[in-house]
């Protein structure tokens, strides 16, 4: 058992903890509009996997930039696509 194994084990435990947290919180009475926050623990878990099992920190620099690029473009896709439904005046809202 070397350092690598120890850190992998910690990552695994962290992931299990986050998953349990996510699962548990989902039973709370969160209003429908806010329930997408349940994705937050998952984003944390994704980051843990990328940094831990996928060893992003020790990856070549361009690999890091690709990972950041992928996330950036995902944000563009989600962000710009949602500007339309979020601002569509299906009914003229009175201020």
């Amino acid at each position: 058992m070397n350092a690598r194994h120890r850190s992998d084990l910690l990552i695994w435990l962290g992931l299990l903890l986050a998953a349990a947290l996510e699962f548990g919180v989902s039973f709370l009475a969160i209003p429908q509009g806010v329930r997408p926050i349940l994705i937050l623990p998952s984003i944390g878990m994704a980051v843990l996997v990328a940094l831990g099992f996928m060893r992003l920190l020790t990856a070549p620099d361009i690999a890091k930039s690709f990972a950041i690029g992928g996330i950036f473009w995902l944000t563009v896709l989600l962000g710009l696509a949602m500007t339309d439904p979020m601002t569509r005046a299906v009914y003229a809202v009175i201020g």
Partner: protein, 539 residues
């Protein structure tokens, strides 16, 4: 640059095995480029024949082709083949595949087997699409808007969409290959700012390949699901939003427009300094313009949806972002003019194509401003104005650039010179025929003729006949290179290593190059267009 020594044992890539097997199982980027070139030429003339039939139909107001259904299938086939099986792959997979490693001083792409696999994927996708298009066709237009495509269209929507889906992975693979190669396999001394602009433009193109194509792929999968089961996430009958499909589709297809033009911009930036014998004006601005086009391209897709029912806020936002993407294109045009200034301009065929490109690209670009201006777009949207606009960019721009590149690198690729005078004549004819075909369509669109009409009100006839007449000239101009380039393979004069006096690394190895490109990996000590330091090089 280091002197190249030619040992007798080095043989050209063309003579390194002549069997069919040695071609079909090759991992040599140069041979794969040739495979692509053959396939793409076939697709180009196939798509072109459909275009010819479209123009034939529109000679008379009621349509020369009896059935509207046939006409609809024809323009759908024209769009699908030209966009996905010619324009998107054209320059990157043929010229790019051939010259990228040579320009970098590398011996191959980073992943040669992936490169071959991408050709097979491309062909598999191509055959899927061809099978669908010939065994009944599809009448959705190349944009596949739902719910028309999923619940109302006739024909093999699923098969043709499958074909595009598969070939999409071929372009993703090519994009990954190029980006990694450019990062990892540059010759010693070849710093980022010493890279030829063509490499920068392919790098930018590859960013779009890798990051936009997957979104198309998932969109098409959702579309296939909906078409097969007549239920899905785009279905307005379930309360779904018909605009979701358009958002996802244009997230890919708008950047794809830049896939289709960025390599062209690179080719022209490569050719103009060589034939003006002068350093490229504003090199850093030109390369960063390419990169910023590739990035901003992702922010502007909503300008295809100004009349679609998208929110007012989104329309205004996308209109503003669209103007931002036009700025780098303008920068490039000004820099080419700056390069011509005080040059020693020669008029070989590649240069004539390149100069024609500048003119047509500027015309296409400037009419893009009309479509980005919201109120003007309301009138011009979905009319022939749009058709003229994007054909000026795609055909006037990209196809001209493809021919420019083909002529410029032809001696390197085949080891033979093409017949110069007839090539110049073809270039001029193409410019004339193109303008005659497409300029009347700007006016038609302004007068209100909608796209994709099999029949039209009689007052539009004169302009349509003009356009069809131009198309005849254009068709002849496209057929010419097919003949004289083929002829030159067999009967052309032997090409020297560097017929144009270029300074790029690809010209430092014989024509045609060795199988492994370079005997000694070259070392680079200066920028790609340092003509002022090489006055004696003038030819």
């Amino acid at each position: 640059m280091s002197q190249i020594v030619l040992p007798q044992s080095q043989i050209s890539y063309l003579s390194d095995g002549v069997s069919l097997r040695s071609w079909l199982l090759t991992t040599d980027h140069k041979r794969i480029a040739i495979l692509y070139m053959i396939s793409i030429t076939a697709f180009f003339f196939l798509g072109g024949s459909a275009a010819a039939l479209i123009r034939y139909n529109l000679i008379v107001p009621e349509g020369m082709i009896q059935s509207a259904e046939t006409y609809n299938r024809l323009f759908t086939m024209h769009g699908i083949i030209m966009v996905w099986f010619f324009l998107v792959p054209a320059v990157p997979v043929t010229i790019g595949n051939f010259v990228v490693p040579l320009m970098l001083g590398a011996r191959d792409l980073a992943f040669p087997r992936l490169n071959l696999a991408s050709w097979y994927l491309f062909m598999a996708g191509g055959f899927c699409a061809l099978y669908a298009l010939f065994s009944g066709g599809v009448d959705t237009g190349w944009t596949f808007y739902t719910p028309l495509s999923s619940n109302y269209a006739q024909g093999h929507v699923v098969v043709v969409v499958m074909g595009i889906f598969i070939s999409g992975f071929s372009t993703i693979a090519t994009g990954i290959n190029f980006i990694i190669t450019i990062h990892r396999l540059r010759a010693p001394g070849l710093t980022w700012y010493r890279l030829p602009v063509f490499i920068w433009s392919l790098y930018s193109t590859s960013i779009i390949f890798v990051l936009a194509t997957p979104v198309l792929a998932i969109t098409l999968l959702l579309l296939m699901f909906e078409t097969l089961f007549h239920v899905g996430v785009f279905d307005p009958k379930l309360g779904g939003d018909p605009l979701l499909f358009q958002h996802l589709f244009w997230f890919y297809s708008h950047p794809a427009v830049y896939i289709m033009i960025l390599p062209g911009l690179g080719v022209v930036s490569e050719i103009i300094p060589v034939f003006a014998r002068k350093e490229l004006f504003g090199y850093k601005f030109v390369v960063w313009a390419s990169v910023s086009i590739a990035i901003i391209a992702f922010f502007v897709w909503g300008h295809h949806m100004f009349v679609s029912g998208q929110s007012l806020f989104a329309s205004v936002l996308f209109s503003m972002l669209s103007y931002f993407v036009a700025v780098p294109s303008a920068i490039k045009v000004f820099n080419w003019l700056g390069t011509l200034h005080k040059g020693r301009i020669r008029f070989d065929a590649p240069m004539i194509y390149a100069l024609g490109f500048i003119g047509l690209f500027t015309m296409g670009g400037i009419t893009g401003l009309y479509l980005a201006a919201l109120a003007a777009d309301v009138h011009l949207h979905d009319t022939y104005f749009v058709i003229a606009h994007f054909h000026y960019i795609m055909v006037g721009g990209m196809v001209s650039a493809y021919f420019a590149a083909l002529h410029y690198w032809w001696p390197k690729i085949t080891g033979k010179m093409y017949p110069e005078m007839i090539a110049r004549a073809a270039a001029l004819l193409m410019f004339l025929g193109f303008n005659l075909t497409f300029f009347p369509q700007y006016i038609l669109g302004y007068l209100g003729m909608p796209r994709r009409y099999h029949a039209y009100p009689p007052e539009f006839q004169v302009l349509n006949v003009l356009s069809s007449a131009g198309a005849t000239i254009l068709a002849a101009a496209y057929l010419l290179p097919l003949f004289y380039l083929t002829y030159s393979i067999f009967r052309g004069a032997r090409a020297p290593a560097n017929p144009w006096g270029s300074l790029g690394l690809e010209w430092q190895t014989p024509s045609p190059p060795f199988t492994k490109n370079f005997v000694v990996t070259p070392t680079v000590t200066e920028g790609p267009y340092a003509f002022s330091k090489h006055e004696t090089f003038d030819v």
